[in-house]
């Protein structure tokens, strides 16, 4: 069933379609609609779940952790300041191996006080053990929530997922979303059945004191889970394709096969970049796009495979790691270590600044006329 939905509606309906059992969330612009809709559909009896009203984002994730630990499928959503406030609990959810799904509306961090698109908030959660991915459009928001539960709940994965959608450019933009039918969704996504859970009939303690004798191996296991997750993400993405007609992977390659210049980016910029690629191809420029969906686990093998024949690579980041360079750029560069392909690191769109087709054309133009550089600021008023 197709509808015209904003990203926030797609996220809320996706969680509802996934039959989540507990939602604990705190409102923050521009995520607020997600929380409002979820509380409405629970109150109206359209979703059989508990909506827990909490006083902060830290509590929101803590509540999800508690609920998930009892074997309930949980969902939460936040943005920027809220995600930052949750940070302590973000680590907990991953290390306790709880496959919570969090829809994060990528928003700039303050000060300056900004409600607009920027991915610094999710990049700051990069090393916590969560899987994290970036959505290009609202259909992907809806679809990925369904897949993220299936992937995260896989007994060889057991990891939470941060699903990112750009503030306003997705959260408040209406697009066509196919919500399929609930029966097919139910057959794709069975109920959550964890092996270990808080159960008064089988009492166990979770997250207790762990000495140097064992902590190291628990960390190793999380890393192994991420390795395994790469396969599971790909398999589930293929199964999604067979079931619903849309296949997804760790990355998406657009016109890269014969491309001389390959752009690498993520989020809504990837969507705009596809149109930019087509426009430049019409002008005779052999450019392609590698869209990164999953940042963690980092799809190193696919990145190397797709980029190895490029003559030049340009990465566009919507964040900058102050004191160094764009975060995706660093990791793409590391993945391509050993190749001689010139790599260009671009930063754009911070604080919600629009990234237009013209901006992306200027990126390719720069690459055509300049030596490679680690940090080029698109459109900055110097």
């Amino acid at each position: 069933m197709k509808k015209v939905l904003t990203g926030n509606f797609a996220a809320a309906y996706g969680a509802a379609a996934a039959r989540v059992k507990v939602i604990a969330a705190y409102p923050i612009t521009p995520q607020t609609t997600i929380v409002e809709i979820m509380s409405e559909i629970v109150a109206d009896g359209l979703l059989d779940a508990d909506f827990v009203k909490v006083e902060s984002e830290h509590s929101a994730l803590a509540a999800c952790i508690g609920a998930q630990a009892t074997g309930a499928r949980t969902f939460t959503a936040t943005s920027a300041q809220g995600l930052a406030l949750m940070h302590e609990m973000i680590h907990w959810a991953a290390r306790d191996r709880l496959p919570i799904v969090l829809a994060n509306v990528n928003r700039a961090l303050a000060p300056g006080w900004s409600i607009w698109a920027d991915v610094t908030d999710s990049i700051a959660q990069r090393d916590t053990g969560w899987m994290q991915m970036y959505c290009e459009n609202n259909q992907e928001v809806f679809d990925t929530i369904l897949m993220a539960y299936k992937i995260g709940e896989n007994e060889n994965v057991l990891l939470p997922t941060l699903i990112n959608l750009d503030a306003f450019f997705l959260s408040h933009t209406s697009q066509v979303v196919d919500m399929y039918d609930q029966d097919t969704i139910d057959s794709f996504l069975p109920p959550y059945r964890p092996k270990f859970k808080l159960d008064v009939n089988d009492p166990r303690a979770f997250g207790a004191l762990t000495s140097p004798e064992h902590y190291y191996e628990f960390s190793y296991k999380i890393q192994m889970a991420h390795q395994k997750a790469k396969e599971v993400i790909t398999e589930v993405g293929k199964e999604f394709g067979r079931t619903f007609g849309r296949e997804y992977g760790l990355t998406e390659s657009y016109r890269c096969d014969d491309a001389e210049i390959v752009l690498v980016t993520y989020g809504t910029i990837a969507g705009t970049a596809k149109d930019a690629v087509d426009r430049m191809r019409e002008k005779g420029i052999d450019v392609g796009l590698l869209k990164i969906r999953y940042f963690r686990p980092f799809p190193e093998e696919e990145v190397c495979q797709i980029l190895k024949h490029a003559k030049k690579i340009g990465v566009i980041d919507r964040a900058v790691s102050f004191g160094h360079e764009g975060p995706f750029f660093s990791e793409i560069k590391a993945a391509m270590y050993g190749s001689n392909i010139p790599l260009y690191g671009f930063v754009a769109g911070l604080g919600g600044r629009d990234v237009s087709i013209a901006d992306i054309e200027s990126v390719v133009n720069y690459m055509g006329n300049n030596e490679s550089s680690n940090l080029i600021w698109i459109g900055v008023k110097k």
């Binding site: 607009w116 459009n137 910029i269 969507g271």
Partner: protein, 184 residues
């Protein structure tokens, strides 16, 4: 893909108009995208909203810089904001005004086709808004349908009834009247 840019003032419903147009096109099987300019909104301040309509999946996620169509809910914006920025050659400009098209001049636009209709009077006739602030966002969509032929008036009326919470019938008929009144 056709790109339409709406210009209004805070409170006039430009954003709703962009949404209803998208719904109408969606009901006819098109791919659509609708969103406002994401800034701080104040009553009376200029508001810009965007709609994209296409037969193919819409992948772009940036503002509209080269619109095919402009819809002006408030003519006092002309001259106050750069309304015709980027308007494609032979672009269409639909204005809510009593004045005739010939009385408008847009020196920065290349051969624009100008359509005018007095949406304010028609809106007031059906009790939409007040004399000081008529609600023209639904009314003007009839003119948009006639001038652009992007969607049928039936689709517009259906979308209005889906998206407007009160006075559904009045809003729909007002749009129908502008559709019939507009010379295209």
């Amino acid at each position: 893909m056709i790109e339409i840019r709406f210009h209004g003032r805070g409170g006039q419903g430009a954003v709703k108009a962009s949404d209803i147009l998208a719904m109408a096109a969606f009901n006819e099987g098109k791919e659509v995208q609708a969103f406002p300019f994401f800034g701080v909104e104040r009553r009376g301040a200029p508001v810009t909203a965007f709609t994209r309509i296409s037969d193919e999946e819409i992948r772009i996620h940036s503002y509209i810089y080269e619109p095919d169509v402009l819809v002006v809910l408030d003519p006092t914006l002309i001259g106050a904001v750069p309304i015709t920025d980027g308007l494609k050659p032979n672009g269409k400009i639909i204005i809510n005004t009593e004045r005739k098209p010939e009385t408008f001049s847009f020196p920065d636009a290349e051969n624009p086709h100008i359509y005018t209709v007095d949406c304010s009077s028609i809106a007031l006739k059906y009790g939409l808004g007040s004399k000081a602030a008529p609600i023209v966002n639904t009314t003007i969509l009839g003119a948009v349908a006639k001038a652009t032929k992007l969607v049928s008036i039936e689709s517009i009326m259906k979308a209005i009834k889906e998206r407007i919470p009160i006075k559904k019938q009045e809003n729909a008929i007002a749009a129908k009247e502008t559709f019939e009144k507009l010379d295209s």
